[in-house]
């Protein structure tokens, strides 16, 4: 999550605790003392943090603060994905991705892979599908929206599968599929 401005998250001021641990011997016990509050203050003058993990590592956050950052993250990621995919049911897709955020790198990577086989102007869609009797069976689909005949499209998709997708689908943990939709 590059370029997350502190000012966007916490307001004007916040402090960063040092992560070094100190161990104090106390009779027979070794007590791990939390990092000493060597406090540094950063003003909101455009200071940028590299990642959410850096924030959470250095700063004790309330659940509300973490949730707020996560929502911002999901919204930011989703906006970038929405540029690559047509999404009819936005809330379904957004909810699925937020529950399975490990899919985000794949969702960003796959369009370029598909363009290599179907052409750079190929349209793609994201859709959540589940068996009506088993809502918990839902999976996310990347759909190649093609005007090709079934024979042509399937032949290209088979090449894509063989060359790349079958070797990478383990990253999707059975939650994401790539398929064809005839339009």
């Amino acid at each position: 999550m590059p370029g997350l401005a502190i000012n966007d998250i916490f307001g004007s001021w916040f402090r960063v605790k040092k992560t070094s641990k100190q161990i104090k011997k106390n009779n027979n016990f070794e007590t791990v003392i939390p990092p000493q509050p060597k406090v540094q203050y950063y003003k909101d003058s455009g200071y940028i943090l590299d990642s959410l993990s850096e924030i959470t590592k250095n700063q004790s956050l309330t659940p509300e603060q973490i949730a707020r950052v996560q929502i911002k993250t999901v919204n930011g990621e989703f906006s970038s994905l929405a540029r690559c995919y047509e999404i009819a049911k936005v809330e379904d897709v957004k909810g699925f991705i937020s529950r399975n955020s490990f899919l985000t790198p794949l969702l960003k990577e796959i369009p370029n892979k598909i363009y290599q086989y179907f052409g750079s102007s190929q349209k793609l869609a994201l859709e959540v599908l589940h068996e009506p009797d088993f809502p918990q069976s839902s999976e996310l689909w990347i759909l190649v929206l093609t005007e090709l005949s079934a024979k042509e499209a399937r032949s290209i998709m088979n090449k894509f599968d063989k060359d790349w997708w079958l070797k990478n689908l383990y990253k999707a943990d059975c939650k994401l599929n790539v398929g064809i939709e005839y339009v």
Partner: protein, 118 residues
């Protein structure tokens, strides 16, 4: 014991009918013919699925998780066939039903070939 391939034979007959109901039913029956073939084969090798969850997802997921590209290809194509079946049975509108049906038959035949290899 019922021969689930009878569903494929029925699907091939229905595919030649022009009406939408036949085309949709062809897609659905075809799926079940392939699903049962894949399911019986994996169960014969010792796999057991959990009840009260989608057996379809479990069966195809199991193929995806097995080692070897052939197994993963079966799982991948099985899910495509399953998607087409869900659309045929539950979606009010399908833009190019003929292509969806034809594609389902292509995928089904490919799965049958791979199932013989694994």
């Amino acid at each position: 014991m019922f021969d689930w391939n009878e569903f494929k034979i029925l699907a091939e007959k229905l595919k030649n009918e022009k009406d939408e109901a036949s085309q949709r039913t062809a897609t659905s029956r075809l799926y079940y013919a392939i699903y049962w073939k894949a399911r019986l084969q994996i169960i014969s090798k010792g796999y057991r699925y959990v009840r009260n969850q989608s057996s379809h997802k479990q069966i195809w997921d199991e193929y995806l998780r097995k080692s070897g590209l052939d197994n993963q290809d079966i799982g991948n194509k099985g899910k495509e066939l399953h998607k087409n079946r869900i659309k045929a049975d539950y979606f009010d509108e399908i833009k190019k039903l003929n292509d969806l049906v034809e594609d389902s038959f292509l995928v089904a035949d490919e799965i049958l070939v791979i199932l013989k290899r694994v």
